[in-house]
Amino acid sequence: MINKELVAASTEPLILSLLAGGESYGYALIQEVKRLSQDKIAWTDGMLYPVLHRMEQRKLIKSRWGESENGRKRKYYSLKKDGKTALDRHHQQWSLVHSVLSAVRPPRAIGGV
């Protein structure tokens, strides 16, 4: 399992990245992250929503109430312009960290651990 500090640090960039692909809602975001990480990143369902609210306060994303396919109320989130800027910044920072890690420990060393 992934270290929980790393999960916490990656939550915002992951949400921004997922929303860059289009509007979505909390449950779908959690399921998509689980799928993409092959269950290695499992967000606590209840903890996602405070993060979404905080990002909405910081004007990175916006929300609207809509309806699901079966008529149930559902809150959809989408990316704002500031969110796109934040996403680009996150990508730069994470790419930098990844490139430094890769330079320090070549890929074959990682597989052998």
Binding site: Y27, Y49, P50, R54, Q57, R72
Partner: protein, 225 residues
């Protein structure tokens, strides 16, 4: 027989009892819960099992409430920062404007009205009153934390409250008992008013402002020292 609606109602009651607010975020959490129960039921679980699993995945009510409170605190801190900047602007601009009006007679009433014929000593005195107002206003804001640490919250509150009440009582006495007793010229009245009314106001505003600025973002005891 498992009753999903009844179980969700009970879950809502527990969340509300723990302090998770409605409509936001409780409505959103309930939507998530229902969605998860539906998906788990489609995957083959019974409604009861799906509900238990979904509730566990949402997490304990207290933990959820704490996370939402952190979000609230950030919003409150932002609002307080805005108010602080606004008051800072007022505490800077108002004395400068008033001092300019009183001394240089460049704006408003003072240009053609009562202070236009004031003698130098009255104008200097009025300017000093305005300067003291600004100093007390800013002094309260910047110096609040230098006041001796008062350990007892109650004692601190009483001292603060009595300082503000004293200023209010002074204003009442000044306006109702002192000012009517003397026959001031217009210039004298402005000078006396600035000293008698404005400078204590600077002290009161400075104390209030300093006290609010010293309060931590999430509430709690005032920081001193």
């Amino acid at each position: 027989m498992f009753d999903l609606e009844q179980s969700i109602k009970e879950w809502r009651r527990q969340m509300l009892a723990a302090g998770v607010k409605t409509p936001v975020p409780l409505e959103e959490l309930e939507c998530h819960l229902r969605e998860d129960v539906e998906q788990q039921a489609k995957a083959g679980l019974s409604e009861a099992e799906a509900f238990t699993g979904a509730v566990q995945k949402i997490g304990q009510a207290q933990a959820v409430k704490k996370e939402f409170e952190k979000v609230e605190e950030i919003a409150k801190a932002r609002r307080r920062k805005f108010v602080d900047v606004f008051v800072m602007g007022f505490a800077t601009v108002f004395p400068l404007w008033l001092g300019d009006s009183v001394y240089f007679k460049t704006v408003g009433y003072f240009k053609t009205g009562g202070f236009s014929q004031a003698i130098a000593s009255d104008r200097n005195s009025a300017l000093a009153a305005v300067a003291l107002f600004g100093l007390l206003f800013w002094g309260g804001r910047l110096g609040y934390r230098l006041l001796p640490a008062i350990r007892s919250k109650r004692t601190g509150e009483v001292l603060f409250g009595s300082s503000v009440v004293s200023v209010i009582i002074w204003w009442v006495v000044f306006l109702n008992l002192i000012v009517p007793r003397y026959d001031f010229t217009c210039d004298e009245f402005i000078t006396v008013f600035l000293w008698g009314f404005l400078t204590p106001a600077g002290l009161a505003f400075g104390l209030c402002w300093g006290r609010e600025a010293a309060r931590p973002p999430g509430g709690g005891p005032i920081r001193k020292g």
